[in-house]
């Protein structure tokens, strides 16, 4: 499946990286290698890149990159996975510091309180054990399940983010296959809260190439196959990106020879190829279906194409395409520079450039966007359109931890806010504008029906986020039931649509009269609506009801949350000297005689609140 073009692209980038290293230009060698990793990656490429990385860095990461302690444990030889993790983590912008459990000792390492694994204090624990480690004679699936769930419970403390794997399957179909297939869902359901499920069985099922490699297993105990190992690591890293709120959110696509075969400006509206009846038509159809499926999972779609807009609109109107014009949140059909187009779209959607994926069949356009916007992911597309979808799927750009209603309706919510933006330019004043939106909000305390969305909002909100504390599901559940802790989620609607659950705060008592704002988060698509004022009023009311006289606000500045840098002073908070050594600012506000802040949002339903 790997094509020569991608191989050459990678080989040239690695050669340039080596040249940079030879002349002592380390940043240059990181940059060149990272670009090379946009090629479709196989086992050999990832291992070559890893060796380059380790030789070049001599185990020291590129300056300023986050270093994370990663434990690698499991039943089979894991040495082969390490270089793949090194390379793909580098592509994702972080640097693992590894601990590898001794071969075959992973259970003891988890269970013993003083094991080397526990002393390492991993921030991430990656586990791999597959069907080859299962004793197939006298196989007792209930016992296997019970043992493993006990082990998982023990692993849920002190091992950081734990990725528990599904069982993969042997090729031959026998009773073991049936049993393992039954165990997987039970295992997933029984995992302790907060532990992530690495669905290796699905990874295996999606792989076109062989997963099981008897030759490498018999000789060097490598399992799964080289290509399977890369897929496993991609699965892991996608989960970590989702957990860290680093998943991509927008797919920007070219049109000619990508969304359809041919060039509409030359071949005409009826000449472009899609679907059966031409050699490349089915490939472009499959690509559109992939886009549609991604959109249903919450990915925003955008077109970026150098074309006459009228031609393009006519293709959408007259040709029978799976995608409609309305499926695209961003519409950039013009003759301007694509990098500038994408930059403008990011500003409009209020999303960081690191949320974007750019798909274009022209190497020059890809090179331009890579050069101008290094944060944007620009996969090096295979030359054959039939391989586009596999190439994109392999990267798992948009993986989320769990799908929520907000994901499914995201495109609709953005359309609503786009219409609101249009209205804004027509409205005389901001007040008139806000009034004309006819906004209404709903709020309530965290409960079973909202935990999932709350975890997700905490995980993926980077900009309007005071503390960027990424609480896990388990922590959220614990907080919600802790005496004295007050929690609220907020939903916003306006006359264009429902934005869903878009904001929350958590406040906890420090003593009998002071409550600290643990988290305060708002989705960026409702920025500028005054929802924060409503949220703040509700916070003051609830805190007073709980007995508070003072609120303590914390600001933890990040590269992305400048938006809220001035929030607390604007609300009347006073800065106090920070006690903690790290980069935190503390603010205090007396709330006994505070009057509510004005806003233009009706509160129609108030869900039941704790006293």
């Amino acid at each position: 499946m790997t094509e020569i073009a991608g191989d050459q692209f990678f080989a040239r980038a690695l050669a340039r990286a080596r040249t940079c290293r030879t002349v002592g230009d380390l940043p240059g060698s990181w940059r060149e290698l990272r670009r090379g990793l946009d090629a479709p990656l196989d086992y050999s490429k990832t291992v070559s890149a890893a060796r380059f990385l380790e030789n070049t860095a001599q185990a020291a990461p590129p300056q300023g990159w986050p270093v994370r302690r990663v434990a690698l444990i499991g039943a089979d030889t894991l040495t082969f996975l390490r270089p793949i993790i090194r390379t793909l983590a580098f592509r994702d912008g972080w640097w693992p510091e590894f601990y590898e459990a001794p071969f075959g000792a992973w259970r003891q390492e988890i269970l013993e309180k003083t094991s080397a694994l526990r002393k390492f204090q991993p921030e991430v624990t990656l586990i791999l054990r597959g069907w080859r480690s299962v004793e197939s004679t006298n196989f007792d699936s209930q016992r296997l399940l019970a043992d493993e769930l006990a082990l998982a419970r023990s692993a849920s403390e002190g091992l950081g983010i734990v990725l528990w794997p599904a069982y993969d399957l042997p090729d031959k179909s026998d009773s073991l296959v049936t049993a393992l297939k039954e165990i997987n869902p039970q295992l997933k359901a029984g995992l302790p809260p907060g532990m992530l499920w690495a669905d290796i069985a699905t990874t295996q099922a999606q792989l076109v190439e062989p997963w099981n490699d008897e030759r490498l297993w018999e000789s060097v105990r490598q399992h799964p196959s080289p290509v399977g190992s890369v897929a496993v690591v991609e699965t892991w890293l996608a989960l970590l990106r989702a957990r860290w709120g680093k998943m991509r959110k927008v797919l920007v696509t070219d049109l000619d020879n990508v969304l359809w075969g041919g060039v509409v400006g030359e071949d005409g509206v009826d000449g472009v190829r899609i679907g059966p009846g031409s050699p490349d038509g089915p490939a472009h159809l499959a690509y559109q279906e992939y886009l549609l499926e991604s959109k249903k999972q919450g990915v925003l779609l955008a077109v970026c194409s150098k074309n006459n807009e009228a031609d393009v609109l006519e293709v959408f109107a007259r040709r029978n395409l799976p995608l409609r014009r309305e499926d695209f949140t961003g519409w950039l059909v013009n003759w301007q520079d694509k990098a500038e187009n994408i930059r403008a779209l990011a500003a409009k959607l209020k999303l960081g450039l690191d949320s974007f994926v750019f798909v274009d069949d022209q190497p020059a356009e890809r090179a331009r966007v890579r050069e101008a916007l290094p944060e944007v992911a620009v996969p090096e597309l295979p030359e054959n359109p039939a391989h586009y979808v596999a190439c994109l799927r392999a990267r798992r750009f948009f993986e989320t931890l769990a799908l929520t209603d907000e994901d499914r309706n995201r495109a609709a919510a953005y359309r609503a806010s786009e219409q609101a933006d249009l209205l804004r330019t027509g409205a005389a004043s901001l007040e008139d504008f806000l009034r004309s939106l006819e906004m209404s909000a709903e709020h309530g305390v965290f409960d079973e029906s909202t935990f999932e969305r709350i975890e997700q909002l905490l995980a993926r909100t980077n900009q309007w986020n005071l503390t960027t504390r990424r609480h896990t599901r388990a922590e959220i559940v614990a907080l919600a039931s802790q005496p004295g802790v007050i929690t609220r989620w907020f939903r916003l609607r306006d006359r264009f649509g429902d934005h869903g659950l878009v904001g929350l705060w958590i406040a906890r008592p420090l003593n009998h009269e002071e409550w600290e704002i643990d988290s305060w988060v708002m989705s960026c698509r409702v920025i500028g609506r005054g929802l924060e004022d409503l949220m703040f009023n509700e916070l003051v009311t609830a805190a007073k009801r709980a007995g508070a006289r003072r609120l303590r606000g914390i600001l933890r500045p990040t590269a992305k949350n400048q938006l809220v840098a001035g929030l607390l002073p604007n609300l009347g908070f006073t800065a106090v000297k920070a006690q903690s050594s790290d980069n935190e600012q503390t603010f205090i506000l007396e709330i006994s005689n505070l009057s509510p802040r004005p806003h233009f949002i009706r509160t129609n339903t108030v869900s039941k609140s704790k006293p």
Binding site: S44, V47, S48, R51, F80, V220, Q222, P226
Partner: protein, 76 residues
């Protein structure tokens, strides 16, 4: 292809796998000469050699691969 031509082709693979662009290997070159030639590198060398020569090598022999001459023997 003569044995020496094969050696030169294999040398390219070793340079790439071991990330040593100036490496010169002889038939005697072995794991003791190069600490980076570990089990991961062996598998990688075998996979790359198989692709470059369009052959498939018996893995049980390969698992014990320690010296360039042994690899060249497998290619004849």
């Amino acid at each position: 292809m003569t044995r020496n031509e094969k050696l030169l082709k294999v040398q390219e693979i070793f340079r790439d796998v071991l990330d040593q662009p100036d490496l010169c290997i002889t038939e005697r070159f072995s794991t003791t000469d190069c600490p980076e030639w570990d089990s991961v590198a062996t598998v990688q060398i075998v996979l790359a050699t198989e692709a470059a020569f369009d052959i498939r090598m018996p893995m049980e022999t390969v698992a014990g691969l320690r010296q360039v001459s042994e690899l060249l023997d497998l290619l004849s």
